[in-house]
C-alpha cells in the first residue's frame, strides 16, 4: 500500500484505533517506510494538545479584550478593600489633625475672642513701648521722679520679683473683677493680654477705661509694673491709694507703691522715706510680715543710713 493512498481520515482511524488488524499492520509498515507519514501521525496525536493550548490562548486574548472594555466603562475603577480602609484612616487622621489645630488655636487666642472693644486712638505710651508712660498730672512731686534705674533692681530680694509677677494674677483672688458683665469681660480681656505678654495691648485696653476708677488704676499700675516701668507703676499705685473709691485696697496700693519706689532707689530715697515711715512704725497694721517685712526693714535701714 502506497502512503499516498492514506488520507486524513485514514490517519485519524489509525490514531483512534478504528482500523482492522490487517489495515493497521499495513499502515504501520507503510509508516516505517515513509518518514512523512509517520510525522503526520505524530502531528495528529499532538492535535488535541495543541488545540487545548490554542483555546486557552484565544480565551485569554478574549478576556483581555473584555477586561479592557470593562475598564473603559468603569468610573472609577474598583478599589480593593485595603485601599479603601487606608483612605478612610487617612481621612480620620486628617480630621483629627484639623480638630487638634482648632483646639490649639482656640486656647492660643482664647483671650482675643473675648469681647475686646476697639482700641483707642494710639496713645504714645501704648503704641511705642519705649516711650515713657505719660500720665495725667496727679501728684506734682511724684511726677518729678527720674526714670527707673534698671541697675537698682538687684537690691531687692529675689522673692520680691516673684511677688511682683504674681501680683496681677492675685487680682482674681482679691475679687477685683466683681461688677457688671461687660466690666468683667473687659477685665478678662486685659488679664488675658497680660498673660500673653502683650502688655502694650493690655495697657491700651486698660487706658481706654475710665482712669478715675480704681479698677482701671489697678490694671494700669500692675501692667506698668510688669512692663518694668516702675516710675509709672508707682504713680498709678499712688493714684489708686488716694482714690476715695478705693477703700478696700488702700493698704495694698500703699505697699505696692513703696515696692515700686524701692526699684527706683537711690533717686527715690526722699519719697520713699516719707512713704515708708508710717508703714515701718506700724507694720502689722499694713499686714506686713515674714520675708516681705524683712526686706522692707533692710531697705528702711539703708534709707536711714543714706539720710
Amino acid at each position: 500500500m502506497n502512503e499516498r493512498m492514506y488520507d486524513f481520515e485514514d490517519l485519524e482511524d489509525y490514531v483512534l484505533e478504528r482500523m482492522s488488524e490487517p489495515d493497521r499492520a499495513a499502515f504501520e509498515s507503510a509508516m516505517e517506510a515513509d518518514e512523512s507519514l509517520r510525522r503526520r501521525v505524530e502531528a495528529l496525536r499532538k492535535e488535541k494538545e495543541v488545540l487545548y493550548y490554542l483555546r486557552r490562548v484565544v480565551w485569554k486574548e478574549k478576556m483581555a479584550a473584555w477586561r479592557a472594555e470593562q475598564l473603559r466603562v468603569e468610573i472609577p475603577p474598583a478599589t480593593p478593600n485595603r485601599d479603601r480602609r487606608r483612605a478612610i484612616w487617612l481621612l480620620i487622621m486628617a480630621l483629627g489633625a484639623v480638630l487638634i489645630f482648632i483646639w490649639l488655636w482656640y486656647f492660643r487666642f482664647q483671650g482675643s475672642v473675648v469681647q475686646e472693644p476697639g482700641l483707642p486712638a494710639p496713645e504714645s505710651q501704648a503704641v511705642e513701648p519705649d516711650t515713657p508712660v505719660q500720665l495725667p498730672p496727679a501728684n506734682a512731686e511724684l511726677n518729678k521722679l527720674p526714670p527707673p534705674a534698671a541697675s537698682q533692681a538687684g537690691v531687692l530680694p529675689e522673692n520680691w520679683r516673684k511677688w511682683g509677677d504674681r501680683a496681677y494674677s492675685t487680682l482674681l483672688e482679691k475679687d477685683v473683677l466683681m461688677g457688671a458683665t461687660p466690666e468683667r469681660d473687659m477685665a478678662d480681656s486685659i488679664l488675658t493680654l497680660a498673660a500673653q505678654n502683650r502688655l502694650d495691648d493690655a495697657f491700651r485696653l486698660a487706658y481706654s477705661l475710665d482712669t478715675t476708677q480704681s479698677a482701671a488704676q489697678l490694671h494700669l499700675a500692675h501692667i506698668a509694673f510688669l512692663k518694668g516701668d516702675h516710675a509709672a507703676a508707682a504713680r498709678w499705685y499712688g493714684r489708686l491709694k488716694d482714690n476715695p473709691g478705693n477703700a478696700r485696697f488702700r493698704l495694698d496700693a500703699q505697699l505696692d507703691e513703696i515696692a515700686c519706689y524701692i526699684y527706683l532707689l537711690p533717686e527715690s530715697a526722699p519719697v520713699l522715706l516719707k512713704l515708708m515711715r508710717p508703714v515701718m512704725e506700724q507694720p502689722e497694721a499694713f499686714g506686713l510680715s515674714g520675708s516681705r517685712l524683712d526686706a522692707f526693714e533692710q531697705v528702711w535701714k539703708r534709707l536711714n543710713k543714706i539720710e
Binding site: E47, V50, Y53, V58, K60, M63, A64, W66, R67
Partner: protein
C-alpha cells in the same frame, strides 16, 4: 449572577450565554476583591504584579470552566473555587517571575563578565508558538477548530459561522484540521514542547 444560573450558562452549548457568563465572572468586582485579599503581595499596589494578577485571574476562570464537569456545587461556591484557583495561579506565576528575574540577573551578570552572543538568553515559550499557529490558521479555521475541540455539534457550528449545512461545516472543519496537521508536520520545532 446566581451560581445556578452561572453554572447552567457555562455548561450550555450556546456560545453567547457561555461567553456572557465568563465575562461576568471576569468583571465581577466582588470576586476580584476576594482574589486581591488572597494575594496580598499584589496589595503593594506598585503595579509590578498587575500583569501576573490579571493572568492568574483569567487562568483561574478558564481552569474552572475546563473542570466544570467535576465541579460539585454542594462542596463550594463557584466564586470560592475560582478564588482558590486564582490564588494558586498567582503564587505559581509570582514564584516563576522571581526565578525568571533571577535567571535574567544571572545572565546579565554573566554577559557583563563575558560578552558572548551564544550566552544570550532566548525564551521561546508556548505562547509565542501558539500565536504563530493561530496566525497560520486564520480566523475561520481557528473558530472552526476550537468549536470542534469543544464538542459543538456541526449544526451549531454551521449556524454560528453561517455555513449552509452541518455537512458543509463538517467538511470545512476537516480541511482546517488537515491544514493544522500539515503545518505541524512542516514545523516539528513547534510541536516538540507541546
Amino acid at each position: 449572577m446566581l451560581d445556578a444560573t452561572l453554572l447552567s450558562d457555562l455548561k450550555s452549548f450556546d456560545r453567547r450565554r457561555r461567553d456572557a457568563a465568563l465575562r461576568s465572572l471576569l468583571n465581577d468586582a466582588g470576586l476580584r476583591t476576594a482574589v486581591h485579599a488572597k494575594t496580598r503581595l499584589y496589595d503593594r499596589r506598585d503595579g509590578r504584579y498587575d500583569a501576573i494578577f490579571e493572568e492568574a485571574f483569567a487562568d483561574a476562570i478558564i481552569d474552572f470552566y475546563e473542570k466544570i464537569d467535576q465541579y460539585d456545587p454542594e462542596k463550594s461556591a463557584i466564586r470560592s473555587t475560582i478564588v482558590r484557583f486564582a490564588r494558586i495561579n498567582f503564587y505559581t506565576a509570582y514564584r516563576g517571575e522571581q526565578r525568571l528575574e533571577a535567571r535574567h540577573r544571572k545572565a546579565n551578570e554573566n554577559a557583563a563578565a563575558n560578552k558572548n552572543p551564544e550566552n544570550a538568553f532566548v525564551e521561546n515559550d508556548r505562547y509565542v508558538r501558539a500565536l504563530e499557529i493561530l496566525s497560520h490558521l486564520g480566523e475561520t479555521c481557528k473558530t472552526l477548530l476550537l468549536m470542534w475541540y469543544e464538542n459543538f455539534s456541526f449544526d451549531e457550528v454551521a449556524r454560528s459561522l453561517g455555513r449552509p449545512s452541518p455537512d458543509a461545516a463538517k467538511q470545512a472543519t476537516y480541511k482546517c484540521r488537515e491544514k493544522l496537521n500539515s503545518f505541524l508536520v512542516a514545523r516539528p520545532d513547534i510541536t516538540q514542547n507541546f
